[in-house]
Structures are given as C-alpha cells and as structure tokens.
C-alpha cells in the first residue's frame, strides 16, 4: 500500500513471529517478520536455539573424538562433515591417505550429497505445497541410509571416517548395491522433474522469487548451490580437489537468473553429477590399504590450518590450531555453509509475500544444527 493510503486509513504493519516452532523453518529458526498485508517489509532472523557449543567442546576432546561431534553439525550430511574434518587434520599432520580410502570417501561424500539433496527437495517441495515429492524423495533417501547402515552401522550420525583413512573397508557386495542404487536414482530424478520442473504452479512459485545476483551472492559469502544458482562457477571439488575428485569426470552446473527456480535446477543437476561420480568411484575402486601411516597417538605439530570442502550445502571449512603439546586442538572453528547462506535470507525475502518466505528458507537449504553448532 502506498504511504499516503496508509496514512489515510491508519493502517499498521503486522509483526509476526515465525518460529522457532514452525513447520517450515526447517528446525528451530526464528524469523520475526514485519508484514504490510502479506508483503514482507523487513525481517529479523534469530538463530541460536540449537547451539550446543560444538566448537568449544571440540577443544576439550581428543582429535579422534571430534569426528563424532562433527556428525552433529549438519546432521543430514554427516559424512561430508567427517571428511572435511579428517582432511584438515591430515593436512596439519601431512598424512598421505591411500588411494582406496580416497575413492571410498568420494563415493560416500556423493551418496551423502544425494541424501541431503533428497531431504532438501522433499521439504522444499512440501513448503510450496507439493507433498507427494516429499515422500518420493524420502523413499530414495532411505536407500542411501540403508547403504550407509551397511557400511558403518549408523543411519544418521555415521562417524564414518578416521584420520588417515577409513575405519572399515567396504562390505562384500556393497559396491554392487551402490551401482544398483545409482541406476534406480537416475530414473527417480527424472520422476521428480516430471512432477515439478515444467509444472505451471511450480514455475509461478519459484521463477523470479528471491533473485540474488552474482555480485550480491559473493558479497554475502554464499557458497554451494545458492552461489552456483547465481551463475558463479565455484566448487571446491573442482577448484581445490580433495579425496579423489581430481580423478573424476563431472560438471559443475550453474544457473543464470539466481532465483529459486535456478537453485532448484542446479541441485537437480547435482543429483545426476553425483550419480556419475559415484559410478566412476565404485567402478574404478583401486585395491590397497584403507588407512595411511598414522601414529598411535594423534598429536599434530604446532601450527594452524584451514581446509574447506564442498558439502551438499556449500563450502564447509575447518580452521584448527594445534599447540603441538596436547592431544586436543587449541582452537577449533568451523565455517558452516548454512550459517553463511542464511545471511542472505533477510535480503531475499524483502518485498516478497509470506508464502515465499518458506519457499526461500527451503531454497537456501539450511540445517539449523549447522547454523548454531
């Protein structure tokens, strides 16, 4: 409503409190919205409801115990968190990881990416009202959880990496099951696309919603699919290859408009690229040991390091300072992609309708466990 009209009718803005208990804030995010009718005038994003002090806790645990704390940050992508942390410590200690372990890590990371994107797709579509996609996506996520369960025994918090390699070799026949899953998943991605990509209502709800230009995205510090949706080719898997990504062939999909629809397309293409990577990693799996030369007592030399990898949500980086004397880190700090991506929310939802707020929270794909840590 125009300003004069508002004065004439003596209207007020409505302040509503979305969350921390709200079905569509993906956990315990709280957004205080000031609405003009249904239009968002401004918003405050309030976080911290799931803060467990993981970084501080880590400074009082030994280096191996921290792996299981990293599970609890982005709890829908525990494997990539594990890999990121283990690689940081390996970098600090200059441990060479055997090739077989690097291949399995790659496969697990990509399986994890598919599982995380399944969860994203399901909840995002559900926020926009397409509830069937939610169950379809969870059906496939279940298959991945089964694969993880067979590999390490856990379905959510895997604790599936060790410094210097892997805790376990892959079970007999596991590789065949993974390849089988790949062929199932390739079909199912088409099924999701059939339901949504050309759906008129889906297009109306996502096209032009929450546009963020490449410059803005970089200025805010976005990473992962939200950044690539704006047309920036930045992917740690390509730019600074870790694990076995330098030996894999894959493309990094990017969007053009930087709206919700492009972020959706980018993630859907990532499903396909992940399947491609998993196939290469499993088919080309080399023989050999699964753990490198790791001392009994893990005690990195004094120094600091930062290492970042591409998690399903974006760039997850670990900054670790070791004093070289104790068996725990002196300082432990995480650069969580969800936290940095969430910064874009107030800017994205400004001027949009209330219904778009939930669509945009879904589009950023944040996990509150990782935002608050």
């Amino acid at each position: 409503m125009a300003t004069e009209a508002r004065q004439m009718f003596d209207t007020e803005e409505l302040v509503i409190n979305m969350g921390p208990q709200h079905p569509s804030t993906h956990g315990v995010l709280r957004v205080v919205l000031r609405l003009d009718g249904e239009k968002v005038v401004s918003s405050d994003v309030i976080i911290g409801y799931l803060h467990r002090g993981i970084e501080k806790l880590s400074e009082n645990r030994n280096w191996t115990q921290i792996i299981l704390l990293t599970d609890r940050m982005d709890y829908v992508a525990a494997a990539t968190n594990n890999v990121g942390y283990c690689q940081t410590v390996e970098k600090l200690m200059q441990i060479e990881v055997p090739r077989r372990a690097r291949y399995v890590r790659t496969a697990l990371c990509e399986l994890q990416r598919i599982a995380s994107h399944c969860l994203w797709l399901g909840t995002h579509a559900m926020d926009i009202g397409a509830m069937t996609v939610f169950l379809y996506a969870f059906r496939e996520r279940e298959l991945i959880l089964d694969l993880f369960e067979e590999y390490c025994g856990a379905r959510l918090t895997y604790n599936s990496m060790r410094i210097g390699g892997l805790p376990l070799d892959i079970p007999v026949g596991w590789d065949k099951k993974v390849l089988e899953f790949c062929s199932i998943m390739a079909e199912k991605v088409d099924e999701y696309e059939e339901l949504l990509t050309h759906n008129r209502i889906w297009l109306e709800r996502t096209k032009g919603i929450g546009v963020i230009t490449a410059e803005q995205a970089i200025a805010i510090g976005l990473s992962g699919p939200p950044l690539r949706g704006s047309g920036v080719t930045k992917d740690a898997r390509k730019d600074e290859p870790y694990a076995a990504y330098d030996e894999m062939k894959f493309d990094v999909p990017i969007g053009t408009a930087g709206d919700t629809y492009d972020r959706y397309l980018v993630r859907l293409e990532e499903f396909r690229q992940s399947i491609r990577i998993i196939r290469q990693a499993i088919e080309g799996l080399p023989e050999g040991p699964i753990v490198g030369k790791v001392p009994r007592l893990i005690k990195p030399p004094a120094g600091e390091t930062y290492h970042a990898i591409e998690s399903p949500k974006g760039e997850i980086g670990y900054f670790i300072v070791s004093d070289g004397k104790s068996t725990n880190p002196y300082r432990f700090r995480v650069r969580p992609p969800s936290f940095c991506n969430l910064q874009a929310l107030p800017q994205l939802i400004k001027g949009h309708m209330l219904a778009d707020v939930v669509a945009l929270i879904g589009s950023l794909d944040v996990v509150l466990g990782e935002v608050d840590r």
Binding site: P23, E38, T132, R205, A355
Partner: protein, 339 residues
C-alpha cells in the same frame, strides 16, 4: 399427514446421517488415496485396512479438551464452526439423488425438496459458509488465523463471482434453476451438459477447488506458512467441525457438478436405445458413482500439485476465470438466439 410431514422427515434424517457418514469416510478415502499416490499404505491399524479409522478419529476428537483461547471472542469463536458446518449440510436439501421410486404403494421422490430456485439456493447458502471461516479466524485473536481468514474471505468472494457467472451460462442452457428440471433437460437433450458446456465445466471445477479451499488453492489452511490457518486455535470437536465441513463442501461441490454437468442420476447417453442396459443400475447408484469419481479427482489434484500463492490465485480468479466465464455467457447467449 404422512406425505407432508413423515416422509420428508424420514428423508431429511436419512440424508443428514448418510452425509455425515460419507463425510467421515471421505476423510479416510482421502488419506488412503493420497497414501497410494505416495506409495504408502495409509491408515491400517483400526479395523481391517483401517476402515474403522473415522470412528476412532471421531472418538478422539470428542474426548479432546475443548480449548477457548483466553483472549478469544467466546461467542463468535463458538458460532464460527457451526456456521461453516450447517450451510454445507443444508445444501443437500435440493440435491436430487434420483427420480421417484415406488415404495410401500407410494411414489417417493429421491430428493428432499425441489424448489424452483434450487441453484440460487445452493449458491447463496454456500456463501454463508465463508462467514464461519472469516469469523473463526477473527475471533481467535491470533495473528496466523487472522491472516488466513483474510486470505479465505478474499479468495472465496472472488471465486464465487467466477462460479456464479459460470452457472449463468448453464442456466441459460438448461432453462431452469430447479435442480430436478436441470437433470430432466439433460435427459431431453439426450446429452450431459458437460458436452454442451465444456468450458463451464472446467471453470466450475477450478472454482470448486478454490471455493472448498482445496489444493492447489488451500491458501487459507496453508499448513506450511500459516501453521493450519484459520483453525490454528481450535481444538477438539470444534476443530472437527471445521475439518468435516471442508469434506462436506467437497461432497456438495461434487454433487452439484454431477447434477449440473454429468447428468445427475442419468445413465450415460440416456436417449440411445442400445445403451438401455446401463439403466439396470439404479439411478441413485449412477449419481453416487459420478459424485465419487469427481471427489476422487479432488484428492488426486491435492496429491499432485503444489500450492498457488495468494496473489497469483487472485490474479487467476479475476483476470482469467471471470473473463472466460463472462465470454462463455455471451457465447451461450448468441448460440441460444441464433439456433
């Protein structure tokens, strides 16, 4: 005496109870159909294949604590669910389930009454139901329900215009407002009106989805944004009334659509002689079959489509549906005059 009081009373009781049972089983049907679409089983625990689930639900809702929020407007808060439910039920008074049947030496028509403004009655009664939603959201004295009731009122009012305009063209074709006469004129034409007025049928279907607050137009409930919408603050039986009224309205829309467009109790192509075998199936069965087929589409749509946004929905209503409806009236008029 028997004809004026007893028979109508029995019919009213029968229709009312049958409707309420149909409504509760509609809930189960919806859960089952959507579950099948989503490769699930749906309710399976209460009774074989979950067929007793509605009874369990009803018992649960009756036993639930009935909470009135401290700052709610008590009277309006109580009246709102009633105001939603009652119009949905009394609409059935004019819906013809079939022609007369011969029972106990009397001709008993299979409808409660046949008023000569039947369609007008349905349209006006249906619009009363909106008040329940508006008042319910308003009286809750809570922000999410308030937003939802604003959405609901805007949506229902704008879609009522489209639906009513659509009905005008149908009335022109049928030449009557009486529901029974409309079916009879379809018999005389030898053709269901869906073939005569296909555009009107599509418009009525879309408008029907919007008027019953069903997906993809379920803005007023929009669980994801408004956490349940206008009935957020309701609990127990009062919530159940809102909940059931939605299904009752779905049945009303389906029954009206069946009567107006799908030939009511008539078998397909009633004038074709060699299709007379179809009339072995009793007329009321035809009516119920068509109504349920229509209801199934409601559920199917809900399982498939995402939700429109509030402003897009209004745009669709005012800028697309209403102009098409008006054009349809004009074309119908021209055709009527020329032929």
């Amino acid at each position: 005496m028997i004809d004026t009081y007893f028979i109508p009373l029995v019919k009213i009781l029968f229709v009312l109870n049958a409707t309420l049972i149909a409504v509760t089983y509609m809930v189960l049907l919806e859960r089952k159909v959507i579950a099948w679409v989503q490769v699930r089983l749906g309710p399976m625990r209460v009774g074989p294949y979950g067929i007793l689930q509605p009874i369990a639900d009803a018992v649960k809702l009756i036993l639930k604590e009935d909470i009135t929020p401290a700052r709610a407007d008590k009277w309006v808060f109580t009246a709102a669910p009633i105001l939603v439910m009652v119009p949905a039920l009394i609409t059935f008074a004019v819906i013809p389930f079939g022609p007369s049947v011969h029972l106990f030496g009397r001709d008993i028509p299979l409808y409660i009454t046949d008023v000569n403004v039947g369609l007008l009655y349905i349209v006006s009664v249906a619009s009363i139901g909106v008040y329940g939603i508006i008042l319910g959201g308003w009286a809750s004295n809570s922000k999410f329900p308030l937003l939802a009731s604003l959405r609901a009122s805007a949506q229902l009012i704008s879609y009522e215009v489209a639906v009513t305009m659509t009905l005008v063209s149908l009335i022109m074709t049928a030449g009557s407002l009486s529901m029974v006469k409309i079916v009879e004129s379809q018999f005389n034409a030898g053709l269901w009106f869906i073939f005569v007025q296909p555009v009107a049928f599509v418009l009525f279907f879309i408008g029907g989805l919007a008027e019953t607050n069903r997906a993809p137009f379920d803005m007023a409930e929009a669980e994801q944004e408004l956490t349940g919408g206008f009935h957020t603050e309701y609990s127990g039986m009062r919530f159940a009334l809102f909940f059931l009224a939605e299904y009752a309205n779905m049945i009303v829309v389906s029954a009206v659509a069946t009567t107006l467009f799908l030939g009511g109790w008539l078998a397909p192509f009633p004038n074709v002689a060699w299709l007379n075998v179809l009339e072995l199936i009793p007329s009321w069965m035809w009516f119920l079959m068509k109504t349920f087929a229509f209801l199934y589409v409601f559920l199917w749509v809900r399982a498939t489509l995402p939700r429109y946004r509030y402003d897009q929905l209004m745009r669709l209503g005012w800028k697309v549906l209403i102009p098409i409806a008006i054009a349809n009236v004009v074309v119908t008029g021209i055709v009527k005059v020329l032929f």
